[in-house]
Symmetry: C2
Subunit: 223 residues, 2 copies
């Protein structure tokens, strides 16, 4: 067999392998179930308050009611009213402990009720975001900024990050095994020793996906 | 070169091709933009009425206000109130022409407001779905069934179906190039000569994906 004939055969074989693989595309890979399942939690609308704003609204520090899934975070007894130019949302949860500055996380649906155009941001990234009026039974506080729709993200400890092959700030695509199955792209991974494995989506994302408490996510791609 | 040596080299090459392709996995394929873009339309809550219910509620046939994207479908002047066990939704759009039986399509968010557990169904598949009370200024009609959350779907003409390589009832995965990019899985393809190419999602899916009127979808997988 001469060199040219061999090259032709090789070329044919490579073409066939590629064709076969291409025939199978587009591929959305099957997610592994079971051990790789990331618990998916729904973040309902809530506020984080600065100590100053908490005292202005409630006359004292926040009162813990119960712990949340992320260690150190808790739901408070106090509730707050959001007042926007077009509408009001009552009975909004406050999460403790207090932070350096106040931040209110709502959904796009809530933003329409309030009548404010609210950007999608990761928690803490509030620079230039719109303000909102907070009201308790006793007082009113106007935030100059801090109203955001929280970008979806996954909390994980370093050992989880190692298992998934990701690091802090990796962006991943996550398939939810929900009633209306979706792959959420551009999901931020946040790695911290104090984090417990949980993905956080907002109410619109949850309703859109047909979420319930048994839904888990699987990382199907990394960016 | 003997046969065995050639087989070994071939084996090596195939392995390398496969390794390279596998290294790139998991792959969520990039969607083609432009000509393959499927317009994505948001279905706000609406009712289809039987002629009998339309007459009961409004005393006569429905009044066309403007045509919708699907040929023959139109928005009506009349509006209806939905009355559920926990809440009421006013000013709900009615789409014509009238149908054999009445059907009301709402979102999961709406279902919570009304206080009804509503299944996700394709249009027309209302058997065993919950009822709802419809009210106009003049009258009240109780539907025994017909309240659904509409499953996402794509309307397309046969020529589109051919272009996308799908047929009526194919289920596809569709990537939306929205602010919060997602791949919606299990999307029903509906092919009919009278259909104009358009994907329909509901308000929750739209808000969850950060939809706007410029968003298009691309089929990235077929089931």
């Amino acid at each position: 067999m001469n060199e040219q004939a061999m090259k032709d055969i090789l070329g044919d074989i490579i073409r066939k392998v590629l064709e076969q693989l291409e025939g199978a595309l587009p591929v959305v890979p099957e997610a592994a179930d079971g051990v790789d399942g990331i618990p998916v939690e729904l973040s309902a609308r809530h506020a984080h308050l600065s100590e100053e704003d908490a005292i202005a609204l409630f006359g004292g520090p926040l009162t813990r009611v119960r712990d949340l899934s992320q260690p150190g975070q808790f739901l408070c007894k106090e509730r707050v009213r959001l007042i926007g130019p077009k509408g009001v949302i009552d009975n909004v949860a406050i999460l403790g402990p207090s932070r350096g500055s106040s931040q209110v996380e709502i959904s796009k649906t809530d933003a329409r009720i309030l009548g404010v155009d609210v950007p999608i941001r990761q928690s803490g990234d509030t620079a230039g975001s719109p303000g909102i009026i907070l009201a308790s039974q006793q007082n009113v506080v106007g935030l100059e900024e801090g109203l955001i729709v929280a970008g979806r993200h996954i909390h994980m400890a370093p050992k989880d990050a190692e298992r998934f092959g990701v690091t802090d700030n990796t962006r991943v695509s996550v398939r939810l095994n929900s009633q209306r199955p979706v792959i959420l792209e551009d999901v931020l991974v946040r790695v911290n020793e104090n984090f417990r494995l949980a993905m956080h989506i907002d109410l619109d994302e949850g309703n859109g996906a047909g979420w319930n408490t048994n839904v888990t996510g699987s990382i199907v791609a990394k960016q």
